[in-house]
């Protein structure tokens, strides 16, 4: 501060600034300083008071009556919102942080309530309330941080659904499940921004997987069904430039699925698939495929997953391996030809090679040979990668 003022004087004497400007700068610095001083004192004071209060409470927590405990946490919650308001008005600190603290205090109040009345924390009620409140915050202030809180709370709802176990899903579980889907779709539709689009999409996808636990039908194709069912969700995305990132989400999910199905099929012999379901999945793939072909071409690569059901009947998983291998290769070539970045296709390609290699070579080769061939394979892949990159950098169009 002092250094700056001397500098100002120096500039004024050198004739660079006139006296009026210097006065204005000094006045500005003065008020800014005065403005900053109170909050600092306030922070120090509040910290000490807070610490004293906390240690007092911690020492006496067990003997405080339930209602007083709950009241205390509620007071903390409300003061968080008051601080958020102050911080917004005076543009100091961060109002978002205070509101998130407020939501945490709300969570604390609910937990304290449930515990002091000896109720169990098992149901999804608390997660639901936090989820809805965080979404409320998000739609009022449109800040990504609230979306993160909502997503975390949403994930916690799943742990509460079906707490009685597989076949005993109650009416309440189903209500919770259906409501979650409705709310997630609404979140997806009304947000139209990242990261909310991704979060709500993931919640919907997990909801599809949750069906595993809710119904007693022992299918293994749920993940693919869910992925296909989520394709029409793209119709709800209004802005064209939001789509590529969502495409990536579908493709990554499909890629993970393909690898999981491949390795599970190769390692197990007993998991049954109904032929009718497999055929229906093919039909669904055709239906979804035609929608994708008409409107969302980059997603065509998820369509072959529809064949997994049929290919599952071949027990050595060779057909699935061929399908995944061919798709990985075509995807790589296609990306290369259209001049996209090759990192992701290559990672997937390598992952496919390594998966296949592990599944088929592990039990059939002796260990040293296994690692030797593995090393050669990695070298080969690296060489292809290097060659392709060189060709692109050389500027030769393919």
């Amino acid at each position: 501060m002092m250094a700056r003022l001397t500098k100002l004087k120096e500039w004024q004497q050198a004739g660079l600034l006139d006296a009026e400007v210097v006065k204005r700068i000094e006045a500005y610095e003065q008020t800014r300083h005065a403005k900053n001083r109170t909050p600092l004192l306030l922070i120090v004071g509040l910290t000490f008071v807070g610490l004293a209060l906390l240690s007092f409470l911690a020492a006496n927590w067990q003997v405080i009556p339930a209602l007083v405990k709950i009241g205390l946490v509620l007071v903390i919650m409300i003061s968080c919102y008051v601080l958020a308001d102050i911080s917004e008005r005076r543009t100091i600190w961060n109002p978002v942080a205070f509101r998130i603290l407020g939501m945490l205090a709300f969570l604390g109040a609910l937990v304290v309530t449930v515990q002091s009345f000896h109720m169990s924390l098992e149901s999804s009620f608390i997660a639901w309330v936090i989820f809805l409140m965080a979404l409320g915050h998000f739609f009022v202030w449109r800040h990504a941080a609230y979306a993160v809180v909502a997503f975390l709370a949403g994930l916690n709802i799943f742990t509460g659904i079906g707490s009685f176990g597989n076949e005993y899903a109650t009416f309440l579980d189903w209500t919770s499940f259906v409501c979650l889907i409705i709310v997630a779709v609404a979140w997806f539709y009304f947000s139209q921004t990242f990261p909310s689009l991704i979060f709500s999409w993931l919640l919907l996808y997990f909801a599809g997987l949750e069906l595993f636990f809710l119904v007693s039908y022992e299918g293994i194709l749920w993940p693919i069904w869910t992925l296909f069912l989520l394709v029409p969700l793209l119709l709800l995305v209004r802005e064209e430039q939001k789509r590529p990132l969502l495409y990536a989400l579908y493709l990554v999910t499909a890629a993970i699925n393909s690898l999981v199905y491949l390795s599970v099929r190769a390692e197990t012999t007993t998991v049954p698939v109904s032929l009718v379901e497999a055929l229906f999945l093919v039909l669904a793939a055709v239906a979804v495929g035609s929608l994708i072909y008409a409107r969302y071409r980059p997603l065509l690569f998820i369509v072959p997953l529809g064949l997994i059901g049929l290919l599952w009947f071949e027990e050595q998983a060779i057909l699935i391996a061929i399908l995944v291998e061919v798709m990985a290769f075509i995807y790589l070539i296609e990306r290369e030809r259209t001049g996209h970045r090759l990192l992701i296709p290559f990672l997937y390609f390598i992952a496919v090679q390594l998966t296949i290699y592990f599944i088929y070579a592990w039990n059939r080769l002796n260990m040293s040979l296994f690692f030797l061939v593995g090393a050669l394979l990695v070298f080969l892949i690296a060489a292809v990668l290097w060659w392709m990159q060189r060709r692109r950098e050389g500027g030769q169009p393919s």
Binding site: L67, G102, F106, H118, S120, S163, E167
Partner: protein
């Protein structure tokens, strides 16, 4: 309003939850359950005792899994199963029939004062006072060491 709306709504929600817990006691019946601690547990969030209820043993007609029960007080002053079914019926409490006993989720864990859990676990013979509302919710109100000599 926009600024404090959430503070108000969230406060109201907590109050509603508190009210709903009290309502169980206001409108419900009180029972005493024989309880036994099991599976000593050392959780991060406060200390609690896990409980099972030897009196809540259904007859053979009931299938394992999700069950619905109502209670009645027996001659010895402790609660026993009045009606039990695998189907929901009016005024019933949802529970799970697993292994030998019926467990009611709201009665399986009881928060106790820090350091007191071990004492309850060693005492073995416990009793729980709980209120059961007509709409099928349960609220445990007290945990004590059972004084009978049985």
């Amino acid at each position: 309003m926009k600024k404090y709306g959430f503070a108000v709504i969230q406060t109201l929600i907590v109050l509603l939850v508190v009210l709903s817990f009290y309502a169980i006691s206001w409108f419900g019946e009180s029972y005493r359950f024989r309880a036994e601690p099991f599976d000593p547990f050392d959780p991060i969030y406060g200390e609690y005792v896990m409980l099972q209820y030897p009196d809540l043993k259904p007859d053979a007609s009931v299938k394992q899994g999700l069950v619905y029960v109502t209670f009645a007080t027996g001659k010895d002053g402790y609660a026993r199963i009045d009606q039990i079914s695998n189907k929901r019926f009016f005024g019933s409490v949802a529970g799970e029939y697993y292994d030998e006993y019926v467990t009611i989720p709201q009665l399986t864990q009881y928060y106790v004062e820090q350091g007191a859990g071990k004492g309850y676990e060693d005492a073995k013979k416990l009793e729980v006072k709980a209120d059961v509302s007509p709409w099928g919710t349960v609220r445990a109100t007290d945990l004590a060491v059972r004084s009978e000599s049985k």
